[in-house]
Point group: C3
Chain length 296, copies 3
């Protein structure tokens, strides 16, 4: 995503100081999709603009915010986008942000122009939109090590009769080198559900592997999920396959067993041809898409 | 509409390559209006910003997208704005776009600061918002000739019980020189309604004439519509009159017989004084407005 | 609020003419809040972007518009943001603007990161959103003197069964020097309620005082409100206290008796640490917040 710097930043750079600035970037895509369970193949397109706000205090702290134009209303109430301040003390962020476990472990690679329902993505707790945001996170990095703690908004009105549920608290640690990453996350939602998830990624020449394994406790019942992906890259071409099992997690928002296969071809300048196929084995449904994606 | 180029495009131009960029433009207006059937004369104002995203692949294909800030949410799902890629093969566009017949024939000139319900505009099929978008269109131009084909989204859930109606398909051809344009469009909505429309425009010195005539078949019933406009321009002043007859088309969304008269005076720098009067003869209602319009 | 000028304005400045342009600015904040009556202390954050459109006619009239990205839809119908044209004749503005009384008298200083329900703000008539906008105002300034007249939209559909209420009309005059300001406003809503309000502000070294006193007549009943604030500034630190009494105005949207105390510390570059405490004595509730605010 190419950042479009406005003129003041150039002037500021020339003058040797850091001016506050608002920059624009964007993305778009267009193509065809035969979605899970839909009767017809259809067209799909979208266009987005992202605002990035950044500045620096006299004492050298960085601060900023970012949100999408289509989320501007939600960003005005902390339910979309994010705001941060960072320095030697670490980084403090608020907004519609992922919990610490999701930030460090993340997800294995997905496929398709549209993501095809993002079956590659693991289930994390407390990542719901709106009511529990702004979520707050504190991150500290030192060399290859990163640690993050996060909490959803304790004043959330998400309980019965408008009472507040306990915050979803999360903790994540990551150790990353050029060749591999290992990460461990723990999260606890309202004292009822806890989830521990381990993730790893490694690159072997043209091949990049990612995997994660999560185990949740819902009262006395245990459940587990895992996700694997492999991506092969050669010049402009990239091919990805993933396999996931969230069958135990269906009650927590999981999708069952699924796999996907996809490819993208880079046309340069921010344009790619992208397509993919995904199958939900549990529901016995599949989806396929193909098109072009653009970044600006 | 003056495009505001951001700094990266200038840097890119200097460096001799085409960077992806997001540019801003805008419009605004303010005035008074006595609308059709409303009891009081009132104030009217609005302000808009348009995002224009553009880029170029290594192989020389152009791509881009555009949408208004107030449509950012709909643009995120293909229901507003548009996305395109173009090259020697032609141009492929998706989004909230007009059908091919409307793209080539268009509309005769309208009047007023606010458009006064746009009584100058012809009825076209399948131009509805939302459910049937993204619409897709393919355009090919060679010299003075342009041909376009379009289809609304086949996966549209617009039928009974959420089933899909057939796409509205359209075909348009246009031949344009500096002095005149002729265009022919054909469109068919779900196999039930078809519409053929012929348009022409010509410029004679200070006078520009536009006209179109459309004939629709709804089952065994035929209906026709026509629209005429003349615009006289002299220095900063521009005066427009139009006459339309859509009485046969009322069942298809037409407005009956109507006429309008308007003028605008260019103040330079993107500002105009604009006013107009429009009369719907069939409904025996009229509207008048006056104000200033701005482009940025 | 630092304005980010786009490149065309720089080019225009170089070339010696004023190009129409769209500029971006923004703000953000993050912190904690224990709100009035809420059971839990919670997180609060938000991020905003503002579009500013400006241009100049060949004859030297300035024109422009401004609205927030999160208000883009409302700005498209005159219910948010504003549009203006100005010159030697004065300035004409339409949109979601304050009435003339509010424009000249304004409000005493408030406290807190979030404003803490803005208890410092006086009650003005016809400042409601939506239905009565666009509001129109005409302003004329000469030296230290400014006069403004305003009217909400006469075509407002705010009466019973969709009829129109009379416009809220307002008149304001202000005399301002570097050291002090006095202002007087009068407003009348639909002939039923009238309100006269007197405001003054003065600066004594590091201390800035503001006060206003308003008296409303609702039929035969009189009501009054007043607001006071004092702000002390020393280098980066600023401390504010306010006291208000709107008890007579509760039926008109007032908040009772209230007071607040707050402070901000400027970190430079557009960042501040801001916190405050506010108490609504009539409702016997209080609120407190603390965080960082950013402008871009």
């Amino acid at each position: 995503m190419k950042k479009v710097l406005l003129a003041t930043s150039i002037l500021a750079a020339t003058a040797g100081f850091a001016a506050a600035e608002v920059t624009l970037s964007g993305s778009a895509r267009m193509g065809v999709i035969d979605d899970f369970g839909a009767d017809n193949t259809g067209f799909t397109s979208r266009a987005r603009v992202v605002f990035t706000l950044s500045g620096e205090t006299d004492g050298g702290l960085s601060f900023g915010a970012t949100f999408r134009a289509d989320n501007a209303s939600a960003a005005n109430s902390g339910d979309a986008g994010e705001v941060f301040i960072s320095g030697a003390f670490g980084k403090l962020t608020m907004g519609d942000i992922d919990g610490a476990a999701q930030q460090v472990v993340g997800n294995v690679d997905g496929v398709g122009l549209t993501g095809l329902s993002d079956l590659n993505e693991a289930v994390y707790l407390g990542a719901g939109d709106g009511g529990s945001d702004p979520t707050a996170a504190y991150e500290y990095s030192s060399g290859a090590f990163t640690g993050i703690i996060s909490a959803t908004n304790p004043d959330n009105n998400q309980g019965a009769l408008g009472t507040d549920l306990d915050s979803t608290l999360a903790l994540g640690v990551k150790y990353a080198t050029d060749a591999y990453t290992v990460a461990l996350g723990y999260e606890d939602a309202d004292g009822d559900v806890s989830h521990i998830i381990l993730g790893a990624s490694a690159t072997f020449g043209a091949i990049s592997l990612k995997a994660n394994y999560g185990q949740a406790s819902v009262g006395a019942v245990d459940a587990d999920q895992y996700h694997l992906s492999a991506t092969y890259s050669a010049d402009a071409l990239s091919v990805t396959a993933f396999y996931t099992d969230e069958e135990d997690f269906v009650g927590l928002g999981g999708s069952g067993k699924a796999y996907g296969l996809g490819a993208s071809y880079d046309l340069g300048g921010g344009a790619k041809v992208v397509g993919g196929y995904a199958k939900n084995d549990t529901a016995d449904t599949s989806a396929v898409d193909l098109g072009v994606s653009f970044s600006f």
